[in-house]
Subunit: 412 residues, 2 copies
Amino acid sequence: MPVLVMKFGGTSVATLDRIRRAAKRVGVEVAKGYDVIVIVSAMSGETNKLVGYVEETSPLFDAREYDAVVSSGENVTAGLMALTLQEMDVPARSWQGWQVPLMTTSAHSSARIVDIPTENITRKFGEGMRVAVVAGFQGISPEGRITTLGRGGSDTTAVAFAAAFDAERCDIYTDVDGVYTTDPRICDKARKLDRIAFEEMLELASLGAKVLQTRSVELAMRYKVKLRVLSSFEEQSDEAGTLVCDEEEIMELNVVSGVAHSRDEAKMTLISVADRPGIAAAIFTPLSEAGINVDMIVQNISEEGRTDMTFSCPTNQVARAEEALKKAKEAGEINFHDLVADTNVCKISVVGIGMRSHTGVAAKMFKVLSDEGINIKVITTSEIKISVLIDRKYMELAVQALHDAFELEKAA
Amino acid sequence: MPVLVMKFGGTSVATLDRIRRAAKRVGVEVAKGYDVIVIVSAMSGETNKLVGYVEETSPLFDAREYDAVVSSGENVTAGLMALTLQEMDVPARSWQGWQVPLMTTSAHSSARIVDIPTENITRKFGEGMRVAVVAGFQGISPEGRITTLGRGGSDTTAVAFAAAFDAERCDIYTDVDGVYTTDPRICDKARKLDRIAFEEMLELASLGAKVLQTRSVELAMRYKVKLRVLSSFEEQSDEAGTLVCDEEEIMELNVVSGVAHSRDEAKMTLISVADRPGIAAAIFTPLSEAGINVDMIVQNISEEGRTDMTFSCPTNQVARAEEALKKAKEAGEINFHDLVADTNVCKISVVGIGMRSHTGVAAKMFKVLSDEGINIKVITTSEIKISVLIDRKYMELAVQALHDAFELEKAA
């Protein structure tokens, strides 16, 4: 029988009632003839409680013990989900990571999946079991210790199972009903997308549209797993939610699919840096060593051997970035006249896989912003994305204006 | 290095503060030179919460899923205890049942321990680890599924580890400071015993002195594991608590070690039963099949081929026992004139291993009760115990009078 993977996040299994509701959804798919693999998160709040215990016990905790503690919430949900399905006369059983066994690297708290043997679960499906409920977020290391996959690890677990079992689709049930052209809280014309390409989703996820973990989208793209995002709180049809898929499966590619924004962005400028080969490495190596997530990097026009270097990073890393750069200056590794941090900015991006074959998107974007009197501070582009930093106070205005200009309220 | 097993119950690890306090106790033993195996229960309340989830989800639950869910509380405590010890610079790590692996039978929710391989933990001790923290109450079945050992299973886990590792002693930390000559809430002269023989402890435990699970005492007796019961809430010396040990290790055996009582006892009498061979089996087989825990059994003097048969059972099983017996009567398996249940009784027992070599204990007990005007309804005796059923209203009086008469307030 075809295999379907269904993943339920913490809010979708937060109470016994919600677990029942989720189980009913599973039952619908079983009735359609699928063998279902259900991936569950911990009941919402549980993992945070456990993380709190660990951090209070040991600020510099042993990550192996951290993993052993925080993975237990998923085990509870897995058992309860299996029991709920059994109550509905759906043959089901739970699997913890080590029982699969879901093999990972030894990088505790941020382990990567190495292998998912399918024999055990496949044999059980052969014996009449219809649902394998698997505790998400966890696996075991080669040393036989419990590992966790890091934040959003249950999405990754789901996609990895879908790949391993060659599932027809991987449905991610969450508290939103799909991926939108932009944030509906900012722009009331925001429209739910029926389909979006993996590449677009990656750009949107990393830009703060926190529907799916970036890692799980990457994995889905690599293994061509059809990923559907949908709400566990609404009645569902087969066409509900948003399908994240290969671009070949999207009939009409949008030139622009969405407008993303990120508040959590600061702009830092190193003024008058010696413009010599290797200077970029000299600047960004100490930042990388300090764990700064540098996002945009722009080197301004060079004059008389000096240049300005601008980059963006998360707002809460500004102090650390300043410290790292000043240290590098004191050590003589780099030389700059001044360091200016601007935490009063935001990032706006337009994303669309159709940009590859359409020109003029950037020009249009800049004109729209200019017409609104919004000054652009930094620009970067990729094949399918154009991002700008602007003053934070213009964020809502920019999103609404761009959404209108690219007519995103209309389906392609 | 010699191995010590230390077990901390739910109230002893109920909060992070209490876990710290327990860890300090472990640190003291490590400093003395022991390699320590710590067995932990779930933080108090956790297991009940999980059991509640399961029962609400599925009244007739799959015991395999029940075990997978309810065992998770111990995993959390084990990790937190290991982290706490590490914070105190004591090399420690946690083990879940499947990691040991603690092998059990497949009898989910009441599994029995089959094997505890010692290689992994012993090797870690050899590498400098000083404390192995093991999640109590759980193991794995031959099918690789998680099992639990039933109520009090963590005591049993502790004793089994002590046996497997040939530990010098097994210390059970709990919320009482030892085993008393009688219930201190009933008799203020109750005295803490320094030592008590396994056999005596078994009689006391099964009589309702709920300090140690009967099963763990049986296991300790079989493998001659020295068991110490002590409080986790008091400063401890080497002589704290009560040592439960082989009678050879007790210098002066008490004729009577303690007076036990049990409120939860009902007396049932079958009046005028045909007195023929096989009648006892005919009565007690249906009771056993109905799951009735029959305790005392007394057959009265037979007259003209008829006899009265009296037995005791827990108060809450009276209705079920009546039903089973009436059914057996209707089926023609047994014949009796009347069935009388008396739920207004209690059981009082005096226990002492010295009774084996001393006579007159029973006579003295009956005289003490008679002097207080207490009527004895049923008597049973074993080698080291005399039990009587009396009216419940005399319970406190009987306990105090017997405690005085046998001078239990004085050390042997």
